[in-house]
Amino acid sequence: MPDSHPDTPTPDDAQYERFVQRFAHYEPDLRRFIRSLLPTSTDADEVLQQTAIVIWRKFDQYDPDTDFIKWACVIARFEALAYRRKMARDRLVFNEDILNLMADEGAEEIPARQAEHDALESCLNEMPDKQRRLLTLAYTPGVKVNELAKEAGASAASFYMRLSRLRRGLAKCIESKTLQTGGAS
């Protein structure tokens, strides 16, 4: 690797491996964390990528005795804030104070998100076939809801309504699987 970037660590294979291992392990957690701060999954894609770069650049500063995901969440939050400032004014993006609240709280919920993600699989399996397929169809990249609606002979509004019901059903199932044991609050 040429030393075009002064911040980039020298190509230390062992260090790079440690980075890849950790990052790969926590990537889904980090992604869910970032997603809760920004309007769309596409925004989350971009910020996740940028976060990966910054984490690699700063990886020398990471203390391996501390929680990697907490450290990564701090970096991700600042990348999300930076991204937010660059975003077009007409995008409906959270105010900084809310973004910070979501980040503060979200960083504490990493294990909860993992449990929910596990529950998602079984909840989807419990869904009636047709409903599940409609839901996943709507989430297929490249598919637009208004085109789907047109093909189905329905209005976009009613299609969105249907989608939200399916999604709410899924959320309810996940909540009942993950919240029932933790009686606090």
Partner: protein, 562 residues
Amino acid sequence: MKKPRFENLPDEEQTWIDAYVDGTITAEEFDRLQDRMRESPVLRAVMRRYLAIDDALRIDHGDIQTATNPWLDAEESPANIVPLSRKPKTALFIPIAAAAALAFLLGLAAMYWQGLDSSGETSQLTRSETEEPCAHGFAVIGQLYDAAWPDSSNPRREGDTLGAESFHLTSGTAEIQFFSGATMTVQGPAEINLKSAWEAECLAGSVRMQVPPAARGFRLNAPSTEIIDLGTEFGLEVKNGASHVEVFDGEIAVRHQKEEERLVKKGDAWKLPAEGIAAPAESGAISFPDTSQLGSQADSQRRLSWERWQAHRDALAHDERLIAYYTFDSDHNQTDGLVPDQSLPRNSELDGAVVLAEPVDGRWPGVQSALEFRRPGSRVRVNIPGEYPAFTFMCWVRIDSLDRWYNALFMGDGYETGEPHWQIRDDGKLMLSVMVDDSRPNPYSPNDAGFHRVYFSPPMWDISMSGQWMHLTSVFDPANRAVSHYVNGNLIDRQEIEDDYFIDKLRIGNGEIGNWGLPFREEPTFAIRNLNGRMDEIAIFKAALQEDEIAELYQRSRADRR
């Protein structure tokens, strides 16, 4: 507190979350969603979970395989083994077979849609744009003397911004300062159409225009006449459609009806009838509003009004409910950097110390002064011991802009149990909070300060109000379980203090006016809270003042009271 479950949220919050996820939320709904999110940890928790579900569907499950085959072998679980920079699975082959695959998928839609009961409900599909904030208007009201307005319940004030509008003055004198630099002094009764910083139309009344070189070209129209100012001072009177113009200095270009444009020079006067030909007139025949006189008249009126308030505030100082009362008159704070507490009996322990804040004109300019907190370090530090059953905070403030996320009015230093924070958020909402229990963590935000709630008013300030003096009051009333906010004596918001957030042992200790002494977060955007503006008095009461009392105090302390 309720469990953070989606179905426990109010219906509107559920709808907003779905619209946000689908990208169909309107700007207005989004604002309300954010307001609610600020207040509700439950909503935020549900939101995070729901967004994660949406994201998982999008990146793990929305693909052709799952659309056609029952999915998910156990090995496929993506939780732990994930390649670096993973992309959605379909991203690889959508471009290759895009057209065919999409057509195929769309065809499936009808199949899956049928047999599901359709719903007639509609959702918002539009996404309106949020506006960039900007100041409306192109002129401000300067000095007023004896001014009376058609709508006496809604009088205009010195410093009010004016835009394209009709300006009616029933009687008295008003000065309008255009942003072009031109100044118009109007004598009522008058009716002026304001068009831009460079143009106005006088339909009735008597005006004097002063146009400096920078505003040369200012256009003043009268019925049947157009006047272009060529850098000068002139008077115009319009009565029953007929005009009379007189030039005091410089020259103007006048086009009357369809006549040739003529130059009118210093000392000349012309009659410009509604019908018929323009004719020279005797100069000095009509008296136009006198600017220098307006200045001294307005000045003496201010002095009178100020003296009236001084007499009244001497009485207020005896109010036993006062904890402290600071007025920022220059004769106090310039000498030793101290602002004495005016409440009686006198207790010099409560005197405040001025740090960096600078003396400037108060709401009676030239007569009395205020403190400006424009520099980031500016503040007045106080130490107020004791325990109190309630709080009323009341001040006169002139906000130039809300530069910070949070803009301090009065803040307890440490934000310990029982201590207040009174401030304004950057969206113009007045905020009052009291720390309920600093040892009890907020269950949803362990990094945040202790257990408390912020009571927000609706937005009460925007940039068009920059530079106007306003009277703000917020009341924390545990006995009646209520928090109220007032602007210029009017109640604008009242909220209940819920059981969880009840506290009636209130304290202050060390605190600050116009800034926050001990922020506990490192981010500068969060920590710097100086108020970009000025304050000329602030009173803190240990009781909940009532609506009528607050309205009366406002009326008595107004600078434009007559």
